[in-house]
């Protein structure tokens, strides 16, 4: 007599075995003490699990938890799927090739500069209209720095460490007595 498969016994214990397999297992268990013991053992384990089931507790309300899940789903849907490294290079290569084709095509169409074409005056580089050559601050504990020129007609001398005053009156009083 061949014993039924172990997964059939487990399914029978779970109450999931149907049809002729269920009839076969039950009939076999009546005549096979080993399989009958196995069936009882399986049922006993399930009963123990049912009796000592840990109650599932949630920190948040179900509505809040679902809102979080939904937000996470939406976030993942908006994140673009990672492009495999191998497929990125052909895209870049295609971009570079397209750029080269456009440039070559432009040169081809425009042709070399013609001598009879009206040529405007080449704008000369605007010389610096304001250049600070030296700077110093005689007031003790102060420092002056010439900031890098961003425009040719503006030079900025940044003086740090000068006394701070609350208002103009105090400023005039303080600076009137300040030795340098």
């Amino acid at each position: 007599m061949s014993h039924p498969k172990p997964e059939w016994l487990a399914a029978w214990a779970d109450g999931e075995l149907r049809g002729w397999r269920r009839w076969l297992v039950e009939r076999h268990a009546q005549n096979c003490p080993a399989c009958a013991a196995e069936c009882r053992h399986q049922r006993h384990v399930r009963e123990l699990l049912r009796q000592h089931q840990r109650p599932v507790t949630m920190r948040e309300s179900p509505e809040f938890f679902w809102a979080q899940v939904r937000a996470e789903i939406e976030r993942r849907e908006t994140v673009p799927a990672p492009v495999p490294a191998d497929s990125r290079y052909p895209l870049q290569l295609a971009t570079v090739l397209a750029a080269i084709i456009v440039v070559v095509g432009w040169i081809w169409v425009a042709g070399p500069p013609r001598q009879d074409r009206a040529q405007g005056p080449v704008p000369a580089a605007r010389p610096g209209l304001a250049v600070v050559e030296t700077v110093n601050t005689p007031i003790p504990n102060t420092a002056a720095t010439v900031l890098p020129a961003e425009e040719p007609h503006i030079a900025v001398v940044w003086i740090s460490g000068l006394p701070w005053t609350r208002d103009m009156d105090e400023m005039m009083t303080v600076y009137a007595d300040l030795e340098s």
């Binding site: 304001a130 050559e133 007609h153 400023m171 300040l178 030795e179």
Partner: protein, 137 residues
């Protein structure tokens, strides 16, 4: 005689027209005032870019004709600020910025018409004071 006077007058006018004018302005940078002075519209953008405040008010200004080499020009800018300018050569200026008795800064600059030298800041309350030195033809 009349012709001689006319020639002398013409010569004087020509010299006066050729002389450059130097101007020093005292500017208050603030976020609490309302609007920037129209007098500062020529450098308002640069002031905002460099100093970061929203509004700029002109507190005072001194203007004078650029003197001959090694001659000193004194400009009273207002609020106790004084600027001394001494030409040292072609476009070279020695500039001394004073507040009261204190020399805030002494600098030598190459300044051409249209150029600006901004010096500061001097903290007053929540605002800054900035000095702007410029040369005009």
């Amino acid at each position: 005689m009349r012709a001689l006077i006319l020639i002398l007058l013409a010569g004087l006018l020509a010299v006066a027209a050729d002389a450059a004018t130097v101007q020093c302005r005292l500017i208050r940078a603030t976020n609490t005032s309302n609007g920037t002075d129209l007098q500062l519209r020529d450098i308002a953008t640069q002031l905002e870019k460099r100093f970061g405040y929203k509004y700029y008010r002109q507190l005072g200004a001194g203007k004078g004709t650029l003197p001959a080499k090694d001659k000193m020009l004194r400009l009273d800018v207002g609020e106790g600020f004084t600027t001394f300018i001494t030409p040292k050569g072609e476009g070279d200026l020695m500039v001394e910025l004073y507040s009261g008795r204190a020399a805030v800064a002494k600098l030598t600059v190459k300044l051409k018409p249209g150029g600006h030298v901004l010096a500061g800041p001097i903290g007053v309350g929540q605002d800054w004071l900035i000095l702007d030195l410029t040369l005009r033809e």
